[in-house]
Symmetry: C2
Amino acid sequence: MHNTVIVRYGELALKGLNRGSFEQQLVLNIKDCLKKNHIEFSAVKKVRGRIMVYSADDCKCLENVFGIVSISPALETEAGMETIKQEALKHYTAGTFRISTQRIDKGISGSLDMNREIGQYVVDNSGAKVSLKSPDVDIGVELFNKKAYVFNRTIKGPGGLPIGVTGTVAVLIEDQNAIKAAVMMMKRGCRIILVKKVPIDTKELEKYAYGFRIKEANDIPEEAEAVVTSETLETLQKRDYSIPVLRPLIGE
Amino acid sequence: MHNTVIVRYGELALKGLNRGSFEQQLVLNIKDCLKKNHIEFSAVKKVRGRIMVYSADDCKCLENVFGIVSISPALETEAGMETIKQEALKHYTAGTFRISTQRIDKGISGSLDMNREIGQYVVDNSGAKVSLKSPDVDIGVELFNKKAYVFNRTIKGPGGLPIGVTGTVAVLIEDQNAIKAAVMMMKRGCRIILVKKVPIDTKELEKYAYGFRIKEANDIPEEAEAVVTSETLETLQKRDYSIPVLRPLIGE
């Protein structure tokens, strides 16, 4: 039912960053994630504010790739109204439904007109009822790249920034909270190097490690641009390092 | 319709802190807020996991006092079933309703039994319909301190820790984000001293300044236990201070 996966990322997340490097890194991280999870794909392409993954798999593993806001396994098809209507009908499953059109390419006709026309076709051919407020099936139609994309599923991503866009930090593993601190820094686009002060299982971090490999070191390595601790205001200590000390849990 | 205001604070917020000092500071900050807003009150008392403000005012200003989870202007009355029923009826306004009883004192009867009995009385005397899922009026009954408290309004507070429980920090006002960083530190219980590096309007911070007065200084003062900056990962700088540097916006 699908031949591609639409990957959406946040425009808002681009503040202060170079948009090009954000997108380039995200494409690399997506490929890394697919390879690590043994998912077959023919291409990963940046297309007008989206990234398209050409794969017959639904690529659910991408839900752990930072920088991704959501993904939809979709059918890429030609952008003609007749084709779109027929594909929308095939994407109807059961219960009430709604058509949600988004035109990134302008052209055919207005989004609201399209919602109505496609919706009418689905009603006529399935007898299904429309519910604009809380449909059982939300059939999405996106128009961009001179193609139409039809889908009925959207999987949430973790948001944040792609790992690799904001540098490398050393995370002091001093207590269980350090895992949380490390995930926060990864979500802000950092590659991490673990400095294990106490023996804590850091396996959970591998789940998000796309676009780089987590390293371990016995001391703060040269390449680290900052030291990350798991301190809160209640456990605050003075730390003397030649690089900034970051305490992502300080507001917890 | 009310002679007291129930103040609820989070048990969870007490992690790592002395519970006594949390409550003591919160009582002081509540009194300070009421005075600054010219609200008349006869007493502020700590009673079994709640703080009671004896006032004819609804004390809405308390919604800006950190540490408070919610407040309810309530009628304090004797804990007899007949009295509670009559007061619950008076607290019914229009539409569907529900009775939500919480017994902190055990005694009279089970909460569910009380909900049923009081609800029946309101139905019999008003003809109103019950809606357990989404009532128009949620009539609360709390039993503690050998008294009953009846109310139909709950106003959300800002949560966090009472200002004063975690020390004093100097906030570098370097850009507009510094206001956000300062609020985050106040919410974590810090008294703040503003070090104005650029001329930015800091008036908004006064809204939360209960339990202390915001000071300004030209340089990091002796009493500061940490320096707070508004840096994000994208604007990170090395800072040389003899006290810890906190960057509450690092995860933004």
